[in-house]
């Protein structure tokens, strides 16, 4: 469903992503790992439209993504979370999810000003949907709190559900478990399975190897902007090159 072919991204003289190719299959949970500074988040920014590759092409669901803007890529069916939490802090929890539902809403500017019946009904529906999504991750009890006042782990979950609200085909998660305690990580594990059961394909960056090895079907390893290896978790764990990259051997 996502095919990345020979993609390169340069910032001036620095090559951040170097000739990377990979294919992601429908319905799978995929991991993207690598040492710090390997270009993982840059790679996410590349496929989600923050950057445009200098070379190569990215094809998602039959559509070429090169040069498309973030919001357009979201409309095609790819949604994401961020390494640094990027919530709308001074909006309530449920409003955050309603923003996630924004691309699905039909009524326009004038129907809002006139307060037409269809617009009001749509607002109601969207509110209901957003509350259902909060149920999905167990945040319904926090629906009317300011999102900035949630605990760190809950903020991570809210980011995930905000991204999920637009019913994406592919969900990109950038370190979803960062800052979570072990109980929260277990909850996250279950939620990721539930997301997979919805038919959503996942590509995630994560440093927690236990979580990563336990949940992913397939793992890609980046090092210095290049793809070092790919394979099932077991294959990756036994790959000498990967071990060397992580332990810093020659």
């Amino acid at each position: 469903m996502l095919t990345v072919k020979d993609v390169t991204l340069r910032f001036g003289g620095l090559t951040a992503v170097n000739n990377v190719s990979l294919t992601i299959k429908q319905g799978t949970i995929n991991g993207l790992i690598g040492p710090n500074g390997a270009g993982k988040t840059t790679f996410f920014n590349l496929i989600s439209g923050v950057y445009t590759p200098n070379e190569g092409e990215i094809v998602f669901d039959g559509v070429k993504l090169n040069g498309k803007k973030c919001f357009e890529i979201n409309h095609i069916g790819m949604s994401r979370t961020y390494q640094v939490i990027n919530l709308f802090r001074k909006m309530t929890v449920v409003e955050n999810v309603m923003v996630g539902l924004h691309p699905k809403m039909k009524s326009g500017y004038f129907s809002a000003i006139l307060g037409t019946k269809s617009q009001r009904e749509e607002e109601k529906e969207v509110l209901e949907k957003a509350l259902d999504w909060l149920d999905f991750v167990g945040l319904r009890g926090n629906a009317y709190e300011m999102s900035g006042s949630l605990s760190y782990g809950k903020q991570r979950l809210l980011e995930i559900v905000r991204a999920l609200a637009s019913n994406p085909k592919l969900l990109l998660l950038d370190e979803p478990a960062a800052g979570m305690n072990s109980k929260e990580k277990e909850e996250l594990f279950d939620i990721l399975r539930k997301i997979q059961n919805l038919g959503v394909t996942i590509l995630m960056i994560e440093h927690d190897m236990k979580l990563m090895m336990g949940i992913t079907d397939y793992i890609f390893v980046l090092n210095y902007g290049k793809k070092l290896a790919e394979g099932t978790p077991v294959q990756i764990q036994n790959n000498p090159e990967v071990i060397a990259a992580y332990l810093g051997e020659d």
Binding site: F71, N74, Y82, L87, R89, K90, V99, A112, I113, S166
Partner: protein, 314 residues
């Protein structure tokens, strides 16, 4: 809940009785009319600044486009005045959209510079107009609003007209900010990268916010022109833009009632300090400092804090 609706009805009755209560104090009614005009003007500014997080230091330009647009259309094309007010506001909306389209790329401080420049351009245009159609620095006289033969030519009549306009504009604002458009504005203010990632066309919504706010402020400008019945460039200098921002910040941003309280407080203060008119800018500057340093949420912020506190206690 009941207490709330009772107090709402009492407030409505009080607002309706203002001209009667102040019948021996015509000047007071005059000021109330101005408060209405400013509520509309800065409610518009609030949409772009308070909700969408984009600054405008040149909103006096839209005030001017509304005032001059309506007065000129009436003078040269002899169109009925309420009609000219709407046309002028629509023209300002288009100009606002045209300005916001390239300006939406700019970040905060550069946007403020661009809007200062825009304000200056419009000021120069009305002060030294082609063919002198605006009367340049001398200004020119116009008529009062005429609603199918009913002239709004007394302070009390204008007060009711302004009251109706304020209600309409605030209702529109209320609906807009509670819709998907309003959420998009807030999302852009809070985090434009995340808004982009969530499928919001950031540029489009910045343009919408700016254009809508131009409509509000321009309509208020046209109300001003036909209330005072005389306009000159002096009213539309960057001083006016600073006053708009002072009122908005003083009252509190991103709310319906903030602009109401801000407009009332600053205008009443202005009247109280008439003897110190020379120091007006100094006073605004001081007020802005006080707001930014001591009460970042404005009057609205302080009241809201008190209410929230009480809720937590009870």
């Amino acid at each position: 809940m009941k207490l709330k609706s009772v107090s709402k009805i009492l407030l409505a009755i009080l607002l309706l009785l203002v001209p009667l209560l102040l019948r021996n104090f015509n000047y007071g009614i005059l000021i109330c009319g101005f408060i209405g005009i400013y509520i509309i003007a800065i409610s518009g500014l609030d949409l772009v600044f308070g909700y969408c997080g984009q600054i405008s230091m040149g909103h006096a330009a839209f005030f001017a486009i509304g005032a001059y647009g309506s007065a000129l259309l009436h003078k040269y094309l002899h169109l009925p005045i309420l009609f000219t007010m709407v046309i002028a506001a629509v023209i300002a909306t288009l100009i606002g959209a045209l300005l916001a389209y390239p300006a939406s790329k700019l970040v905060f401080h550069f946007l403020s510079l661009a809007t200062v420049a825009f304000g200056e351009i419009v000021y120069q245009l009305v002060a030294q107009s082609p063919g002198g159609i605006t009367g340049n620095f001398t200004g020119f006289y116009t008529d009062s609003i005429n609603l199918l033969g009913f002239k709004i030519n007394t302070n009390a009549r204008f007060y009711y007209f302004a009251l109706i306009c304020v209600c309409i504009f605030l209702l529109m604002k209320h609906r807009l900010v509670k819709s998907k458009e309003g959420r998009a504005f807030l999302a852009i203010r809070e985090n434009s990268h995340a808004a982009d990632g969530m499928g919001i066309d950031v540029k489009r919504y910045k343009v919408i916010a700016f254009a809508t706010s131009a409509f509000y402020t321009a309509f208020a400008g046209s109300m001003y022109a036909h209330y005072v019945r005389f306009i000159s460039p002096e009213t539309f200098s960057n001083r006016q833009s600073v006053m708009f921002l002072t009122m908005l910040l003083f009252g509190g941003t991103a709310s319906l009632s903030g602009p109401i309280m801000g407009a009332a407080a600053v205008l009443l203060l202005n009247e109280g300090l008439r003897f110190a008119e020379r120091y007006q800018m100094l006073i605004y500057g001081f007020m802005l400092l006080v707001v930014i340093l001591l009460m970042p949420g404005g009057i609205y912020g302080i009241i809201k804090k008190q209410i929230d506190k009480r809720r937590v206690v009870s």
